[in-house]
């Protein structure tokens, strides 16, 4: 009996210390990797410029769609914009821009100034839509396929490396 207790104690301690050791190389911060492979929520978005309404049907024929949350007041959005412009030239991917808590005039001025990469342009006036997509900061982008599976999620502005990875995914 005593030996069993001793054995259990020692293995428990070794187990805990082992987990500690293993966790040293992990990031303790929040990430969204686990969302990859999940389906996104049904799309129900209003167009920024007209009374049009976007639903899943508008996207099911796209091989790939990049959903990009942006706003004219957000400085990092300016940084990522050139990459979106590059991506917009690619035929295999469509880009859905969702304008987040913004004024329409400012948003349109922003696009006029820097170019419009978006195939679809929707609005999220009060920000409620962002929760549906699991967004927690602007800018954030989600790459989905025609079946609405999440292939990749990019938090913060897109950069060279993200662009490369996206291109690789849509090539295959």
């Amino acid at each position: 009996m005593q030996n069993i207790i001793k054995l259990i104690t020692v293995s428990l301690l070794v187990f805990i210390l082992g987990i500690f050791y293993q966790s040293l190389n992990r990031s303790s911060n929040y990430d969204t990797k686990f969302l990859v492979g999940n389906k996104i929520a049904d799309i129900e978005l209003s167009d920024l410029q007209s009374e049009k309404f976007f639903t899943n049907d508008d996207f099911k024929n796209n091989k790939y769609t990049l959903i990009n949350f942006w706003a004219s007041w957000c400085a990092p959005c300016r940084v990522e914009h050139p990459y979106l412009m590059i991506l917009s030239r690619n035929k295999d991917i469509k880009i859905l821009g969702i304008n987040f808590k913004d004024k329409k005039i400012n948003a349109l001025k922003f696009l006029e100034e820097l170019g419009d990469p978006y195939d679809y342009l929707a609005k999220d006036n009060n920000g409620k839509q962002s929760v549906n997509f699991g967004i927690y900061g602007i800018p954030e982008s989600i790459l989905i396929d025609s079946k609405f599976n999440i292939l990749k999620k990019i938090i913060g502005p897109l950069n060279e490396k993200d662009l490369k990875e996206i291109k690789e995914i849509i090539k295959s």
Partner: protein, 624 residues
């Protein structure tokens, strides 16, 4: 220059520790019952040199010697002198030096204050303690050296994080360290006791003062940390069940359990191995806490810059410590015959230990569980206040009843507890509770039970004062203040009023019985920050109280940080707590207003709790 001095002193200390171990070991074999003068002399030298080493670092901070990386990263020439000094231990490297100082001083003090105890027991304690000191000295010298140089030497430092520039936080680490680093001495003593078979009563007597000292300081440290969190973090709470906070609470539970089990050991010679386990556990939890906090494997509010190599070192140290301790324990463990009667004081001490273990396991599990799920199933979860509250609070209620009854039970002899008196006390507690809640309105059953049980503890502790026999004043102080603590937390939690709204300049808003008016905003330039100070008039329509609160939004220069300073007005009945924050792209300001009843009494209760520990220390010193 300072760097060389510091490094020299650190190396000297390694040499001295090694010498102490060597001479103590030789001294074990001598037949006389005296510890060699050499050991004493080197110990004095050791303590002196580590203190000089510390003051070397302090002076580097005082003269802003930015050729030292630590000073460069954590100080600034414009910083007030007080914060230059406190900056010494406000960072990883400096705080480790503080660790070693406490290890060393406790080692020395234990040596000279335990003359009555046998030579070999003292020597072994010294040897083990010096192994701990060596471990930390190596860590400092080779991994986290506060005297590391940077070249070329910068002209200006990066500054200390502004939320750390605070009087409460300046004294918080030293207090807490005396608490949980101090527990190292009874870790060493426990192992020495097992090796030399110096057990039971006399062992309990030799470590009791040290347990009391560390417990009282740990309590004070936790108090100061909570006060700081209350006014600096700006959310109105004072305990967030954050991993760093939990790390300070875990050793506290173990110490509290130890404190009580020593009572039994001292009196009856039972629970020896259980007390040994608690001695070992306390320090092991302290080092575990340090590991969790410094290695960065936990996500916490209290940012400590982290780096994985530190983690590996502390983890290796921790593992060796645990395995050696467990090995010796298993080697020496002998099942003892325990004879305890129900209803005796021993039973109630066991009950105390039982509950302490429950709290300890709950908090430990809650703190570690996210690490486990992440490592095993790659799922990141959060364990926060709602978890701890819902698991712990119901158990606290039962605990308080035991805590009230326990101290009045007699040693050894079986005697039935006086049911009549306790029914009367319960009756009084329920009535008082009813009056409180009837006049102030409330909802939840659990808070009623909390108030009833804490009132029960308070009333029966007060009754104890009037009893002539076996009246232990320090114990009554501590138990009474613990009762008050829970009572005030319960009432505060239950009757706090919180309002969250947006205002712009000149606007007035009425919410329920409160009227708010944002008079104006002033822009102020201070030495190391700019601030927007709001003037908010708060009108309590019920009590006809009118107060102007001045919350601030501060922008610090070095390093650039934005902080929200709460405006707090305290009196003996309630705190007004108000924070203001800007809303992006709008001229409105978000205002969070809280009226928190009896806030100051929570602090006073904890201070009294710790006072009970100090009084008990005096009492112990007088009788032994």
């Amino acid at each position: 220059m300072l760097s060389n001095t510091g490094n020299f002193l650190l190396s000297l200390n390694i040499l001295l520790s090694a010498l102490i171990i060597y001479y103590s070991y030789n001294n074990l074999k001598t037949s006389d019952d005296l510890i060699s003068q050499k050991v004493f002399k080197i110990s004095i030298l050791q303590s002196t040199s580590i203190l000089i080493c510390f003051f070397t670092l302090v002076s580097a901070f005082l003269v802003s010697d930015f050729s030292l990386i630590t000073v460069y990263q954590n100080s600034h020439t414009l910083k007030p002198i007080f914060y230059k000094i406190s900056g010494t231990w406000g960072n990883h490297e400096g705080s480790l030096l503080l660790w070693v100082i406490i290890l060393t001083l406790f080692s020395f003090l234990f040596l000279i204050y335990n003359r009555k105890h046998p030579k070999n027991y003292r020597l072994y304690t010294l040897i083990i303690q010096n192994f701990l000191i060596l471990g930390f000295l190596f860590f400092i010298l080779f991994n986290s050296n506060p005297f590391s140089l940077i070249s070329p030497s910068p002209n200006e430092g990066l500054g200390l994080n502004p939320i750390l520039q605070d009087p409460a936080l300046a004294i918080h680490p030293p207090l807490l360290y005396v608490g949980f680093v101090g527990s190292s001495i009874y870790f060493s003593a426990a192992i020495a006791s097992m090796i030399t078979n110096y057990a039971d009563k006399s062992f309990a007597k030799s470590i009791k003062s040290w347990v009391l000292i560390s417990w009282s300081f740990q309590t004070l440290g936790i108090l100061v940390g909570s006060i700081w969190a209350y006014y600096e973090l700006g959310w109105g709470g004072f305990w967030f069940w954050d991993p760093v906070e939990n790390a300070s609470l875990l050793p506290w539970f173990a110490m509290t359990a130890l404190l009580h089990s020593l009572l039994v050991l001292e009196r009856r010679n039972v629970l020896y191995f259980w007390s040994i386990i608690l001695c070992l556990l306390t320090f092991i939890l302290s080092v575990t806490g340090t590991f969790l906090v410094r290695s960065g494997i936990l996500n916490s509010v209290h940012t400590f810059a982290n780096d994985p190599t530190r983690g590996i070192y502390i983890l290796a140290f921790l593992s060796i410590m645990i395995l050696v301790a467990v090995y010796i324990l298993f080697l020496k463990y002998k099942p003892a015959n325990v004879e305890i009667n129900s209803n005796s004081k021993e039973t109630f001490v066991l009950v105390n230990n039982w509950f302490m273990m429950f709290y300890l396991i709950t908090v430990l599990l809650g703190t570690l569980y996210p690490i486990f799920t992440d490592a095993i199933s790659n799922n990141k979860i959060s364990v926060g206040p709602p978890f701890y509250n819902s698991v712990i609070i119901p158990v606290v209620i039962v605990f308080l009843f035991f805590m009230a009854i326990g101290p009045n039970a007699k040693w050894i002899k079986n005697k039935f507890i006086d049911l009549k008196i306790y029914s009367l006390i319960i009756l009084a507690a329920v009535l008082l509770n009813f009056i409180i809640f009837f006049f102030f309105k409330s909802y939840s059953i659990i808070s009623n039970l909390i108030v009833i049980s804490s009132l029960f503890l308070i009333l029966s502790s007060i009754m104890d004062i009037f009893k002539k026999i076996s009246f232990n004043f320090p114990r009554v102080v501590s138990h009474l203040s613990f009762g008050f603590l829970i009572l005030f937390i319960g009432l505060n939690h239950n009757f706090s009023i919180e309002k969250d709204f947006n205002l712009k300049i000149g606007e007035t808003k009425q919410i329920d019985n409160f009227k708010f008016h944002l008079k104006d905003l002033k822009l102020v330039q201070d030495t190391n920050y700019k601030a927007v100070i709001g003037s908010l008039k708060v009108n309590d329509l019920l009590s006809k109280e009118e107060r102007v609160l001045k919350p601030e939004i501060r922008i610090y220069d070095n390093p650039q940080t934005l902080t929200y300073e709460a405006s707090i007005q305290t009196n003996f009945i309630r705190d007004y707590y108000l924070t203001m924050s800007n809303i992006d792209r709008s001229d409105y300001y978000n205002i969070k207003f809280q009226k928190k009843p009896l806030m100051i009494w929570i602090w006073i209760s904890v201070a009294m709790l710790s006072l009970g520990g100090f009084l008990s220390l005096l009492r112990h010193a007088k009788y032994n």
